[in-house]
Subunit: 192 residues, 2 copies
């Protein structure tokens, strides 16, 4: 099928097994079930709400886990790298699970956009990843001489997306991804 | 908290216990957990994909259940009722779980909008309910002399929304609901 709204390629897949560190590590394959990436710190059907949901729920409320998988793009990493004048910027330092290539503006995908992978995996975009300062610590260790104070500013809206699992499957580098925008809302916006 | 993007009132709550009929029935209380409305035909963490997902998955594929709860509004029911020249149009005939009042355009809520109820229940809008012809059969039984051929046309974009459960709780009529639009995408759309 080539009737999608865009196509991506999976460059690297990564998991973050340490619950106390955002840093992820490249792996050969991600096992993804309805709870997310098996063995990853973000795995689970539910999770405690954090500061991002402070407007909606008391902190620590058990809510459905909608940030099961995080994705970043080669294109947006390059933008942030150049803005910070770094020699490189790696997806593991941002705690990403999936590095993709092929879309100029991954972070602009709307909530509800579907990412359908070669092998059957189906993810649903749950929104942009809100940049926090945690990656700055990981970056400082490798770039002690650079100012990283602009990270949150430059990464805002270019930090990739978080996604939930609609259809479980394995995921590995080299897979292709078809992107589908939510259909009926687009139709309604045009038609009314 | 009154910092929401809109407020609603729950008029009636309903459950559809018969897996072979879309018709729901008013109940005193809905028990809602992470699988949806306990005892309802749409209950479950997963469900087989249907014709609405034919573009994305082979029919019958086990996918995450994103249509756990369906909501319709007094305002949109009234629009469809008037367009069809019916004496009344009931939420149970449309298989709805929740009838709300207070928003002109419930069906226009974007995917990702949150509905937060008095007692802690949190739902996430998963999109508009795509009208099908099933309610026509229920309506025909009560209105044998009326033409109902316009149902799908008039109900298109006014059929209410489907939602998934973010935070489980009980739900009953009289509850108030605060509506929150997805925040960061709105910010991004303005700022870039």
């Amino acid at each position: 099928m080539s009737d999608s709204d865009g196509e991506l390629e999976v460059v690297t897949v990564l998991a973050a097994p340490d619950p106390d560190s955002i840093v992820s590590r490249p792996v050969a394959v991600l096992e993804i079930d309805l709870g997310g990436v098996v063995g990853d710190r973000h795995y689970g059907l539910q999770r405690p709400s954090d500061s991002r949901q402070a407007r909606y729920y008391p902190r620590g409320t058990s809510i459905r886990n909608r940030r099961q998988v995080s994705l970043v793009s080669v294109e947006e990493l390059e933008f942030v790298r150049a803005a910070l004048d770094l020699p490189d910027l790696r997806p593991d330092e941002l705690g990403a699970n999936v590095l993709v290539r092929g879309l100029e503006d991954l972070s602009a995908l709307p909530i509800g956009a579907r990412l359908l992978f070669d092998n059957g995996l189906g993810l649903v975009c749950e929104g942009v990843n809100q940049p926090c300062r945690l990656p700055v610590e990981a970056l400082k260790a490798r770039h002690p001489d650079r100012s990283l104070s602009g990270f949150v500013k430059y990464a805002f809206g270019r930090r990739g997306i978080v996604a939930s699992v609609e259809r479980p499957a394995r995921l590995q580098s080299g897979d292709h991804v078809r992107v589908f925008l939510p259909e009926l809302h687009a139709t309604l916006a045009e038609g009314r």
